[in-house]
Symmetry: C2
Subunit: 325 residues, 2 copies
């Protein structure tokens, strides 16, 4: 039984409506939005990564799931391993604390364990938010919706590639890779309007494919519309190959929202500085993605997203390989 079978098995177990079929980023229970992500040394972060950035990232990737449901952060339970003299963990907690303070999240519980000597560090966070009247699901996208993206894509993947080339690399792209910004304010504004919403964490194409599969609609993306940062363009340009890199990179923590076509999201009262871009449309048809570049069809790449070291990270909520076209 490999990952896919494990997830299929869990899906058969998880039949309560609160589970949202394990197809969404979160569970919803009594109006609370609940998510859990774990990270492991050597898989999701490297022993040389600054510990405070690991703590920051653990909190913010979970907050990004709350943002994607338009939820307000309420509390979190932290699960952490202890090892060595604890100096690493002390800096890690500084990052946790900084992120919690930045976004109004309280640590309200959790546990600590030690692993046998030589084991990697493993951390988990359960984040809980209060949802609004509409808590958008991945499954709610409708034919005719427009797809909007909050934030930019490709920065973190380019930062990671800089680090892979030189572990001492620094700069804005490395910063974005290490210290993602959850789009909580924009998520709260979009939440009441969105038919479907999710965060883009594993690559825009992979996550759009998941939304297409969950909503049972086709998704067409216009690559020339993809929002790129100036730092990205300065480094990599804005042509088709750069855009395919950006669309398959992962770790963006942008939001992807399916909104009724009648709504121009750019007119909403989004937080100052929010970048929101219409990137595509949903339509009736096979639940898969298609791409265009200046009106011309572009072949969908084989690799849709960023899969941590051999496709071994996934939320139960998404089976990365299951719906691949």
């Amino acid at each position: 039984m490999r990952e896919r079978e494990v997830i299929e098995r869990l899906r058969r177990i998880a039949t309560a409506p609160e589970a949202r079929g394990l197809l969404d980023d979160v569970a919803v229970l009594d109006g609370l939005v609940i998510t859990h992500d774990s990270i492991a040394e050597g898989v999701h972060f490297l022993p040389g990564d600054p510990p405070a950035s690991v703590g920051w990232k653990l909190v913010t990737v979970n907050l990004s799931d709350l943002a994607a449901k338009g939820a307000t952060p309420a509390g979190a339970l932290l699960s952490m391993t202890l090892s060595g003299d604890g100096a690493w963990e002390s800096e890690f907690l500084t990052g946790i604390e900084h992120a919690c303070e930045s976004y109004g999240l309280s640590i309200i519980g959790g546990d600590t364990i030690a692993l046998p000597g030589g084991s990697p560090r493993v951390f988990g966070l359960t984040a809980i938010g209060r949802g609004g009247a509409n808590i958008p699901d991945r499954r709610g996208g409708q034919a005719g919706d427009c797809l909007w993206l909050v934030g930019t894509v490709g920065d973190a993947a380019l930062g990671l590639s800089q680090l892979q080339a030189d572990p001492k690399a620094s700069g804005p792209l490395v910063d974005i890779y290490r210290r993602p910004i959850p789009q909580l304010g924009a998520g709260a504004v979009l939440g009441p309007h969105a038919h479907a919403m999710m965060d883009v964490s594993d690559g825009l194409l992979l996550d759009a494919q998941r939304m297409a599969g969950a909503s049972g609609c086709a998704i067409a993306l216009e690559l020339e519309r993809l929002p790129l940062s100036s730092a990205f363009v300065a480094e990599r340009g804005g042509e088709l190959d750069a855009r395919l890199f950006a669309a398959t990179g992962g770790d963006d923590y942008a939001l992807l929202a399916a909104l009724p076509a009648s709504l121009d999201a750019a007119t909403l009262s989004l937080p100052q500085g929010t970048r929101i871009t219409r990137v595509g449309t949903m339509s009736a048809g096979e639940p898969r993605i298609s791409l265009t570049w200046g009106g011309q069809a572009v072949e969908v790449p084989e690799r849709l997203g960023f899969e941590h070291q051999g496709n071994h990270r996934s939320r139960i909520s998404a089976s990365p390989m299951a719906d691949r076209p």
Copy 2:
């Protein structure tokens, strides 16, 4: 920074009332009772343990925390590592599913990760329950309260020692060690009455010491009153040394409740077969435990409970060494 310092640091971060000062078994948010426990191979279970029993135990130890708050199971998020060919994980999930079905708990989310080769398996569960009008804290015990124990103590520790002597050992005590029973029904009946309640997971003396510290009261325990199972007595007898073993063994998942002296808990409508025993009293004074055996004072042993492989397991909610007398 070692475990104690990590926990002290977390306590300074976790100032929201929902955290209950990280002194309780759980967090309480909008009427929901939330707990998280992680377990690791080689620390909390052994590679040779039956995988289904590991899954059962992960669910039931978390449910025991809900029981201690009088809460009704509502949902859980499962975090699991994947390794090898997945055969082990398949049996593990059978145990998860069995326990969830037995106690009406739904898996509503979570995540799967892979660890680098050779790493131990690590699992976490966030369990969520709906609390009643009174969600007893560890901190609410009052001078004059009587202390009641639901269930028996010592069985699991004796089962573990049988397994340590012979990995193929079997029988009722091994079963109790591997497959704890959460006292959900009794917890729900006691919840409305209890000034303080907690589950006894790390040894009665250690957990009573924690309740004494959290409540700011002295606790006196009468060892001759400790409820022992017939399987325990048949194996180990019922004299003082056996009772000290039982009171410091851990993994009992009994409930310890501080109830007003005016209430005879044995008259409550507890589930058929519930064993409930008055084992001691709370009084004003130094927040520590004292022991008697047939009216004679007994020295409190140095080791109060079962500390997994060098005191390395703890919930954030409890610092095993911090309040030791």
